[in-house]
Structure formats: structure tokens, C-alpha cells
């Protein structure tokens, strides 16, 4: 199809309604949704899972599957109604005029085809380009997405590339035919933070370079702030607020948007004095939506008889540019009123040391050929000289990206693996050599774990109560079945779940509720050390706050030591007392939260801080993008593990970084950094995050 000149809006969605039809009922997924994307504009679509944002994207692609159907409204692409096009016309448009980038890069690439061939297909099919030209174009685009050695990449298969590289290839493929509209559906969710930052940077630059309009779907407000010009907030199938980034972030006019911002940890939030405010209640199921305002039952400004009566339409906010909100009371609400803060909680003082790790090492031997066991054995150094202490009722955050060894560390602590070298001391007993089968019940009950994936943490074929009772049986709590049942009910109270949940199956629970059961199970034997492995990263923003608060509250009551493993620095800053940053098995920085979040930094911490998107327009961030990917632990670089990506490397003389692993240096009381940089160089570091107002 010839690309016509057209200067109106690229995409106009007007009062779109999409429903899915099942045998039982019609399920409305999107209702009365309107958005306009102007040429060169990036529009963010934000909402929690199940709010219909991906359905909108599929609706634009006219790819709703067998039981999905557009039941109202129109989608116009460059002025033409997409629903009136034939299959042939749509095929012409998809991939050439509208391109889509999905969440999982490996799933979007054909594993049996070389990258070059996959890229060349696009212009060869859509523009009938010759093979030679298509190859040149592919080479050009791969260079544009800043991949090293483009010729080699074109000749590689998808599995030979890392996740970040794969996502760049997917972006390259989307750009091959210079589309007018790019739909990105959570393009960076599967990637590490530093890689995410680089990909986001790339998308932004390319958008400018090619003048492509973008529809950016994400659940991460910070990411949308960094990439988009306009934003549309969705809740339960409806757009609730839409406007420019500045308007929505600073002068929000919908209670849901406000609640969302109050439930995410922004700089300045503090677990004791300014705790997060979770949105009460649960996301309504599509067929159980309330009358009137969908957000009504969870809204602080709810007015019975008005908000639950009839349909509510979008109304423009006076004085702002194309700023609309779906709220009846937005003109009456005082949006600047500070949130009602509950009692400031007493800051709990850390007690004595309960857990001490000293020079812990964990190496794995990997046989080069698994089949015959012969060949050279490779050693993976998953943990290298790990030393730290954790005190009673202290939260120690362990931060790092995938492959940094944080999960191995957890396994060794739990006893699922034994340490190669070094000691773990729990209450003066060494436990590093004792596998879990040999540990006594007390030790096992003392060290428990909360897992990352809420959909995986509970056995799907056992009732919730049964699973907690089983933990009680194993930990020898209670003398008989009745006592254990009673204790199980108390544990459900502890995690604020109704007692009736004891008889439910896990599939009847939402993600946040499952995570609560997981917490209750971990505390069944009065655990004193709880390893929380990214306990909230798979949850929706509004639920995250509630689960985090719950953990904090139990910790305060039970004086638990919490080892909080995470890659999300915002939440770490919010809840932890001390932070340990890990990279490729090494602890690169360890100190109190204030020390780690202020200069001097380890160069990796600096990059990590800069990479985390923050949903606050008043924050100024220094822009540091790391080159390349995390090296494989199988094949670590010589010398300092971070030297391959470090931007400060040139400051150290004699290439010392490439020769020697840096020593651990105390830069302040309780603050250690593993770096060759001189003290002067460290002192010169500037803060990465600055609050403009303060």
C-alpha cells in the first residue's frame, strides 16, 4: 500500500467498546474508550492488569480472536475506519503502517529463522523490496537500534542473543517499514532495570528520529512519565482520566489517579512517618462491575445516590489542554488536600545480630557436556565473598539484577544448597554446611521465605487452610488438629484475610490475597528471619502498597528480620533500613539506606538509581545509560565484575579494574564500597536523584 500523505490525527478511537463472548455471558472488556494520537505524539496507556489496556491494543490491530468483538464505537487510523476494512487491507496495514511490540521478546521472534531473514521479510512482503535492498535496510535499522556488530547479529538465531538484544531486534523489526503508529505493550517488563532504561531511551530516540506516533501500554507510571507526551489512565475497562503528562501528574482530577500516585513509593515516602496509602478493596471482576462509577466502592470521595447512579461520561477540565476526567465530583474535590495520615509509627530499633554471613562463597560446577559427564568442568561463581550482618527487626534489602546471585544466596541461607566456603551464623550456630533435611525444626521454622510469583506460591490443589495447617504440623505447632486449626485462623487474621478463606482453593483468590496466604504460611512457625524474594513485584501497584505495609506491620509486631530481595529501588528506599547492592555474585555496596541513596556511590549503584523510573515530575534525574548487558556468571570478566560497563573506569590508572578485584573499602561508618576509584573521584560524584522543589 502506498503511504499516503495525511496530516490529521494518526489514530482516533472514539467511544470504543469491546466485549468478549463466553458461553455463560458477555464480558465487556473495554467500555466507552476514546483516545487520539497525533502525528509524532507518544500516548501512554496506564492501568492495572485486567483494566483492558491490552484489549485496546488488540482492538486497534483488529485481532480480537474468535470470541472478542467490537460492540460499539469506531477506530480510525489516518481517517479510515479499521472495522470496515477487508482482511486483505488489514494485512497490508499491520506490520507496515501499524507495528506492535510485545512484552516477551523471545515469543515474538521465530526461533528457527535467522534474525536477518526475519527482518528482511518485512519490507519484502509489504513493499516488494528486493533482497539486496532489504538486507541493506535491515543492516541500517540494526545499527539504529545500537546493536554491536550488526552483520554478525543479522546472521544469528534469536536464542544466541540476550533478552535485551532480542527486544532491540523486535523494535528493529517494527521499524523496518517505518510505520506511522507503534504500539508497545509492556515492552520492557521482562527486562532488567538497567537494560530497560537503555531500551526506553532507544525507543524515545527512534520515535523522534522516524517521527513515529506511539501508543505505550504500561503499568509503570514512572516509565510513562519518561517516554510519553500524553497519558490515559484506565480503570476496569474505562478511561478515567486523560490529558498531558504535566496535567495528569501534577493536577490529577480523578480519585483513582490520585489513589494510584499515593500508593506508589515516591522519593520522600517513608514507612514510618509517611506510609503509602493502599487503595482499599479489590479490582471488580468484569461481570461484577458496580452501578455508576466503577471506582465508586473503593473511592474516598464516594457519594451514595450520585456516584452509583447511571453512566458517567468524560468531562473536560476547564483551563487545561484536552484534559478529561470521568468523575462527577471533580470540581468539588479539593485535590491539594494532603491525605489523611494515620498515626506515625514508632521507628523500631534494630536489636542484636541474629544472622551473620562471613566470606560466604557458593560455586557451582557445570559439566560442559551433560550427556557423558566428560569434558571440561566450568565453575559458576554464584556468590563471591559475601559478608554482612542482619539484626533483629531490621529490614535489609538485597538489590541487584537477574544473575547477580541473590537467589543463590537465599537458597544457601535456607539450606537448599550448602555453601562452598565461608560461614553463616544464626544465633551463634553455624548452619552453612547443614542441608535442610538435617536442620532441626526450630532452625527451619526460624528462617522462612516469601516467594515472588503469587500464582505459583500456593499449591493449586489444596485449600488455603490445609496448606497453613500443614506448615503448622511440620513446625510442630499445636498439640492436636483443633489447636492447629485455631492457630491457622489466627494467622489468617494476622495477614488480614477473612477467616472464611480457610476453605477456599487458591484459584479463588486474587494475586494479593495469595501473597498474603504465602506470608501467613511463612510466619506459621513464628519465623525470625524472613527472606522475601521480590514479594510484590508481580502484584499490581495498588495491591503492592497493601502487601508491603502488611509485611512492615508484622515485622514491627514480631521483631522479624526481613531480608528483602528486590530490583525495585523505589520500594527498597521506602522500606529498608540497610541496603546491599549485588552484581555478579559480589557485594558492591553495603550501607544504610541514606548512605546508599546518596553519593558517593558505587558506579553500579549510580547507574541503577538512574535507571529506575520515578513517577514524579518534580524529580530531576541524572541520565546514565549502561552499555551492553550483564556478563554471564559462567564467564565473568577479569578484575572488577562491573568493569565492562563502568563509566568511571578511565579514572583508574593502569587498567587496574581489568586486573584485580577491588578491595572492600569503608567510606563511612557502616558504609562499604567495592571499587578501585580514589576517594577524590568518589567525592566528586553528584546525586543522581534531585527533588527540584526542595
Amino acid at each position: 500500500m502506498a503511504k499516503s500523505d495525511y496530516d490529521g490525527p494518526i489514530l482516533e478511537i472514539d467511544k470504543l467498546s469491546i466485549s468478549f463472548f463466553t458461553r455463560l455471558r458477555e464480558i465487556p472488556a473495554v467500555m466507552d474508550f476514546s483516545v487520539t494520537v497525533q502525528p509524532g505524539e507518544a500516548v501512554g496507556l496506564v492501568g492495572e492488569s485486567g483494566c483492558g489496556k491490552s484489549t485496546v491494543a488488540l482492538g486497534v490491530m483488529q485481532d480480537l480472536g474468535k470470541n472478542g468483538r467490537i460492540v460499539g464505537g469506531t477506530i480510525k487510523f489516518k481517517g479510515r475506519d479499521l472495522s470496515e476494512m477487508s482482511q486483505e487491507e488489514l494485512r497490508d496495514i499491520r506490520g507496515s503502517e501499524i507495528a506492535m511490540i510485545y512484552q516477551e521478546p523471545m515469543a515474538s521472534l521465530n526461533p528457527a529463522m535467522k534474525i536477518g531473514k526475519q527482518l528482511m521479510e518485512v519490507p519484502m512482503i509489504h513493499q516488494g523490496m528486493g533482497e539486496k535492498e532489504a538486507y541493506d535496510r535491515a543492516l541500517q535499522v540494526v545499527t539504529d537500534v545500537k546493536l554491536p556488530d550488526p552483520k554478525r547479529i543479522l546472521d544469528a538465531y534469536p536464542h544466541q542473543l540476550s533478552g535485551g538484544q532480542q527486544q532491540r531486534i523486535v523494535i528493529a523489526m517494527a521499524l523496518m517499514s517505518e510505520p506511522s503508529l507503534l504500539i508497545l505493550d509492556e515492552p520492557t517488563t521482562a527486562l532488567d532495570v538497567t537494560v530497560e532504561a537503555a531500551v526506553v531511551e532507544l525507543v524515545k530516540d527512534l520515535g523522534k528520529k522516524y517521527g513515529t506516533s506511539m501508543l505505550f501500554i504500561s503499568h509503570n507510571l514512572g516509565l510513562v512519565l519518561e517516554t510519553c507526551d500524553r497519558i490515559c489512565v484506565m480503570y476496569s475497562g474505562e478511561a478515567v482520566e486523560r490529558g498531558s503528562i504535566q496535567d495528569v501528574f501534577n493536577k490529577m482530577q480523578h480519585p483513582y489517579t490520585q489513589a494510584l500516585f499515593r500508593s506508589i513509593p515516591l522519593p520522600g515516602a517513608d514507612k514510618n512517618s509517611r506510609p503509602l496509602i493502599a487503595i482499599p478493596g479489590n479490582f471488580p471482576l468484569p461481570h461484577e462491575r458496580p452501578q455508576g462509577c466503577n471506582f465508586g466502592p473503593r473511592c474516598d470521595y464516594f457519594e451514595a445516590g450520585r456516584c452509583d447512579h447511571g453512566d458517567i461520561t468524560m468531562s473536560p477540565v476547564a483551563g487545561d489542554d484536552r484534559h478529561h476526567t470521568r468523575c462527577l465530583r471533580f470540581e468539588e474535590i479539593d485535590w491539594d488536600a494532603p491525605p489523611a495520615i494515620g498515626d506515625a509509627k514508632e521507628r523500631s530499633e534494630p536489636g542484636q545480630v541474629v544472622l551473620k554471613m562471613d566470606n560466604l562463597k557458593k560455586y557451582y560446577e557445570v559439566a560442559a557436556s551433560a550427556l557423558f559427564g566428560g569434558g571440561e568442568k566450568k565453575v559458576v561463581k554464584a556468590n563471591e565473598t559475601l559478608s554482612f550482618e542482619a539484626r533483629e527487626s531490621e529490614t535489609l534489602a538485597i538489590v541487584g539484577e537477574s544473575g547477580c546471585g541473590k537467589s543463590t544466596f537465599a537458597k544457601v541461607l535456607m539450606g537448599l544448597e550448602t555453601a562452598t566456603d565461608g560461614t553463616i551464623t544464626l544465633d551463634n550456630n553455624s548452619i552453612e554446611d547443614i542441608p535442610i533435611e538435617a536442620r532441626d525444626t526450630k532452625t527451619i521454622a526460624d528462617v522462612q521465605m516469601v516467594f515472588q510469583n503469587p500464582f505459583d506460591t500456593l499449591n493449586p490443589s489444596m485449600t488455603v487452610g490445609r496448606q497453613i495447617i500443614r506448615a503448622l504440623e511440620i513446625f510442630k505447632v499445636g498439640k492436636n488438629e483443633r489447636e492447629r486449626h485455631q492457630r491457622m485462623l489466627e494467622l489468617l487474621d494476622l495477614v488480614k484475610l477473612p477467616r472464611a478463606f480457610a476453605d477456599r482453593m487458591p484459584r479463588q483468590l486474587s494475586g494479593g490475597q495469595k501473597q498474603r496466604v504465602g506470608i501467613a504460611r511463612a510466619f506459621a512457625g513464628d519465623a525470625r528471619i524472613v527472606v522475601a524474594d521480590e514479594p510484590v513485584s508481580a502484584l499490581d501497584v495498588s495491591v503492592q502498597a497493601a502487601v508491603t505495609d502488611l509485611l512492615m506491620e508484622i515485622q514491627r509486631e514480631q521483631k522479624t528480620t526481613l531480608l528483602f530481595i528486590s530490583h525495585d529501588l523505589s520500594i527498597v528506599r521506602y522500606l529498608s533500613d540497610r541496603v546491599m547492592v549485588m552484581y555478579l555474585g559480589h557485594v558492591v555496596e553495603l550501607g544504610s539506606t541514606d548512605q546508599v541513596f546518596a553519593p558517593p556511590y558505587h558506579p553500579y549503584t549510580e547507574a541503577l538509581l538512574s535507571a529506575v523510573p520515578i513517577a514524579d515530575t518534580s524529580v530531576e534525574k541524572k541520565h546514565i545509560v549502561l552499555e551492553g548487558d550483564i556478563p554471564s556468571a559462567m564467564n565473568p570478566p577479569p578484575g572488577c565484575p562491573f568493569q565492562t560497563r563502568c563509566r568511571w573506569k578511565s579514572e583508574v590508572a593502569d587498567g587496574l579494574c581489568e586486573k584485580e578485584v577491588p578491595p572492600v573499602r569503608q567510606v563511612a561508618d557502616g558504609h562499604q564500597i567495592k571499587c578501585h576509584l580514589s576517594s577524590e573521584a568518589l567525592d566528586r560524584m553528584e546525586a543522581v536523584i534531585k527533588l527540584a522543589a526542595e
Binding site: 528462617v447 516467594f451 506459621a524
Partner: protein, 482 residues
Amino acid sequence: MEPLTWTGPLGAYLDTITLALAAAFFVAVLAMIALNAAGATGRVVTNPDGTLSTSGSPYDLLASAVKWIGVALIGLVLAYFVVGVFGGPDAGGIVGALSQRMTPVWIALLLTFAISIGFKRKLGLYGKLFDSTVGMIGFALVMFWVFTGVFGALDMIITHDPLSQVSGMKNKVPGTPLSGAEEGDYQWYLLGGDNLARDVFSRVVKGAWVVVQIAPLATLFAFMVGITLGLPAGFYAGKLDTVLSFIANLILAFPVILLFYLLVTPEIVATGLPNYMAAVLFIFPLIFVGVLLNARYYTQPSIRTPLLLVVLGFLGWIYLSLISASGTKINILPASLDLFDIPGGILVVFVSVVFVNAPTVFRIVRGLALDIKTRDYVAAAQTRGEGPWYIMLWEILPNARGPLIVDFCLRIGYTTILLGTLGFFGLGLPPESPDWGTTINDGRRLLSIYPHAALVPALALLTLVLGLNLLADGLREESLKD
């Protein structure tokens, strides 16, 4: 006595209509396929109120025609059976007579379906089966043969003794009146007589009992063996897995029929090999149940010990009765305690079916265990210090049940065919046994002249296996929706 026609006096009215409708149905379906291939399908329109409808294109008219003719056809077929139940052979001919003999089966089927559909929301996966048409048809076919087998064994259905021969009835076509019939005898050979002048109908019904007894039980044993070995292979992986998988592959690579021939050879039987194999294979259910209960209750010895004693004692007794039989190599149990003896032929069939099916089940279970052991709830069980067998049997196995149930249904089908094959080769079961495989083999010699003797058991085998496959399909479809 007049010979019966297939549909009797009722057929005089209905046969022409039924045939005409069937022809119309056939033509309409062909036309639909042609239109579909030509791409003339109607466009689906969404109404403002959210409902869907199709516009009145020829394709849609045809589609509704097919639907209504189909309904009418099913109604007519039902009429033959219903008239038969009440009128018997005098009103409905052979079909009517068969239908009347099957009355207990119809009643049992109706009750099962009425109760199941009534409570389907409370019955878990079994209840969900009644949401799927395919699953319901499969379940109905399977239950039809199960009930036939059960009521057949209770002598409620059969018309004659399946083993006795009646002179003058050799190779008689269906509906032939019994020669020399006395008062109180059933007056016809409904589905004819075989080459030894025995009643085909009664033999098929009796044969159903043999199949319904052996196939599920043998499959269950194969599953016990496969699960008990497959779980540790998948869970521990490494050397154990390599060894067990190698043995499984070895068994799978061995020609099945040759194995059967070997097992029934008198010299081999005399060495006691089948008995020793039975002793090994049948111990697995004991291990399975013992470990299952111990893993669950070992924290509460006061419950565990009596429970294990009772359950294992009972199972052990059955096990010993099962393997020990007088006159064989293994004769441990005194005759006064021996509950039952398994005839040597059936034991061989059992052993060989379990032996060849267990490796396949082993591989399925191993694969599922490899996948499920990476889940967080398994890690959670490990971090609270659960033993490996608890994790395997209570955390992994229940969550692998979906694929296993489906495979169980399919595998009963394979076993049924395998039983037929064994019977066909004259292996295992005694030559006069009414089981379907043996009967087909008997009937095949005169297949071109008198097909009914082989055709009837073949159709029975076909419908049962078809039912099991449809049931597995339905279960798979419904379990995926969870």
C-alpha cells in the same frame, strides 16, 4: 415363530421417513461444505444490545436446515428404542427387542445423567464434563458398556447362556427364532448364532463384563507402577532418572506381541516367570499407598501408625491372595487364608498389559514432575523441611492430575484394544471366553458369508474405545478451562 425383521411392524411406518430424512441430512451437509469452501459464509452482525446474529444468507438457511433435520433424525432413532422398551420384539423387531433387553441399562444411564447434571456445579471436574457435548457423548458410551457389563454379569440382560450351544442355530442370521424352543426360553437369537451355535448377543454382553473388569484395573496398576517410579525419576533427576528411563526405553523397544507369546509359552509359565513378574508389579500399589499415607501423617504418629497398619494389612492380604495360587511357583498363603485365585491366563494378560503400559505412564509422569518441581510451592515445601516423598505425592502429583486423568481414559481404550488383540491371537484367555477379541477371532473365518458373528463384537469394541477417546477429549477440554 416368524423370524424377526430389524425394525418390526414399527419399521413399516417409520423406515421410509427415516431414510428420507437421513438422505436429506446428508445432502444438506454436503451443500454446506461446498458453500463453505466457496467462501459464501454469512457475516456475523453485532446488534446494539450486544447479542449476535447472522444475516439471512443461503449458508445460514442451510445451517438451520441441517440442525432441524438432525434433531428430527435423532428423535426418530429414539422413537425406535422407546417403542422397543415398551413394545418389545412384537412392535419394534430386533431393535425393539434389544432395546427392551437393555431396559436396566437405560434406567441406570438416565439416573446417572439426571443426578450428575442436577449436581454438576458441586462435582468438580466430573461435573464440568457435563458442560461439554463431546464429553457427555463419550461418557454415555462408556457408561453404556459399563452398565451392560455389570447387569450382564448379574444375568439381567442376556437371553441365553453364552457358552451353551443350541442345535440348528449354527451361523443363523439375526432375528432367527430359536429352534426347539420351550416355554420360558427366549424365543429368538437376537443377533444371530455363531459357528458353534451360541447366541452372539449374550456373548457380547458377557464379554463386556470381561473387558470392563480387566481394562480399567490393568490400567490402574500400570499407573501405580508408572507413578511410583516416574515421580522420583523426575524429581531427583540425575543418575536415577538415567537408569530408570533406560529401562523404560528398553521395555518400550521390545516387540509387544513377541513378549506376549513368550509369557504364555508353557515352558516359561513353568519357570514361574509370570508369577514372579506379578509379584513385582503388584507390590507397587502397596508401596504407593504406604508412602502416600506416611508422608502425609508422619507428623502425627497417633493417627499414622493405626492407619498404616489397617490399610497396609488389608492391601497386603489382597496382594498375597493375588499372587499366591496353588499349583504355581508362588504358593505362600495357606489355602484357608487365600481369598481368591486368579486363573493363570488372566494373570498373564494382566501382567503383560501392566508391563507394556507402565513405561509410557512412567515417561509422562517423569515429564510432568520435571516441570512441576520448579514451581514456587515446591520450593516452599522444601524450605519448610518437607520430605521428598511428601513433595512428590502431595505437592506434585495432585497438580499433574489433569493430563494423567486424560491419559488414563485414553489408556483404558488402548488396553481394551490390547485385550482384543490378545484374544484375537488366542493368548491368555481360554478359547471359549466370550471376550470381544476372542469372539472376533472366532467369527473371522466365516466373515464373508456370516459377518454378524464378528461384526457385533467389533462394533462393541469400536463404540467403547470411541467413547473413551471422546471422554478424554471432553475432560481435556474442560480441565483446560479451569
